[in-house]
């Protein structure tokens, strides 16, 4: 036994609150690993992803979904993808590396974000207050993903299901981000 142990916390200590027509919940059981193919190595990566996750490299703006660890893959930058999957341990890159080997440069991003799920009939109305993107289902259907800016904070928004959105924003400003969402909930309920 080591003399000291470290305990993990989440950005919002497991925040959860219901407003009329909308629920706001912190999500803390997902890991994120950034995946980048080396220059001219994209084919290898595609092969490895297919083999391990049975998943395609997605186009910008949409999720690829895998049954393996409930993983979703989406494009964050021109040649950079985020793989988000069920995992709460400390070595997310090791997990992904075990599938992809050296076909990609991996960077753990699991602790970089606060993840907040906004769900319920009023969620679009709430998000209208802070999200500059058109998230009407005709423009932003289920499985759509985009990164934008909300209340001065860079935010990735994922349309997980009907009236169900997952938002990722920087961990250090988690409370400011939560306040933006809660204020929107108060102002629209």
């Amino acid at each position: 036994m080591p003399d000291y142990t470290l305990t993990a916390n989440t950005p919002l200590n497991g925040f959860s609150r219901d407003f009329p027509g909308v629920s706001i919940n912190e999500v803390n059981d997902r890991a994120i690993v950034s995946i980048v193919a080396p220059r001219d190595g994209e084919k290898e990566l595609i092969k490895a992803l297919k083999k391990s996750y049975d998943i395609e490299l997605p186009n910008a703006g949409v999720l690829s979904v895998s049954a393996q660890d409930n993983a979703v893959l989406f494009c964050m930058a021109q040649d950079q993808y985020f793989l988000m999957f069920d995992y709460t341990g400390n070595t997310a890159t090791t997990v992904v590396h075990s599938y992809l080997n050296d076909t990609a440069y991996l960077t753990d991003q699991s602790d970089s974000y606060v993840m907040i799920r906004v769900s319920g009939a009023n969620s679009r109305c709430l998000l209208e207050r802070i999200c500059p993107l058109d998230i009407h289902p005709t423009a932003f259907p289920v499985r759509a993903v985009a990164r934008t800016i909300m209340e001065h904070l860079g935010t990735t928004i994922i349309h997980e299901g009907d009236d169900n959105f997952l938002l990722l924003s920087a961990r250090s400003s988690a409370y400011s981000f939560l306040e933006a969402i809660e204020t929107s909930a108060k102002n629209t309920s």
Partner: protein
């Protein structure tokens, strides 16, 4: 303003950071005899046209790509948007193509 990102579609300009004239992607050769003069002109002198202007925007709150945007400085109309990397590679290909001849 709205910038029609080649990969992501129309996005509000507030997601972007502006840098300036797209000629900044054509950095001079540091070993040229007149490198000091070339770098001066590169860094400091601008055409600054009243009309069509090719310029660099960085999608900081998006996919972090640098874009070359062709925008009219009188009307703000945007007529073309491409990834800066593509623009640079195209210029390089053109140059080396010419070099071979």
């Amino acid at each position: 303003m709205i910038i029609n990102h080649p990969l992501l579609g129309p996005r509000d300009a507030s997601e972007f950071v502006y840098k300036g004239d797209a000629s900044l992607i054509e950095r001079p050769d540091w070993q040229a005899d007149n490198a000091a003069e070339l770098f001066h002109d590169y860094l400091y002198l601008r055409d600054n046209p009243a009309g069509e202007h090719q310029e660099l925007w960085y999608h900081e709150q998006g996919d972090r790509s640098w874009l070359v945007v062709t925008r009219n400085t009188l009307t703000h109309d945007i007529t073309n948007v491409e990834l800066a990397r593509d623009a640079v590679l195209a210029k390089q290909a053109k140059k080396s193509g010419r070099g071979e001849k």
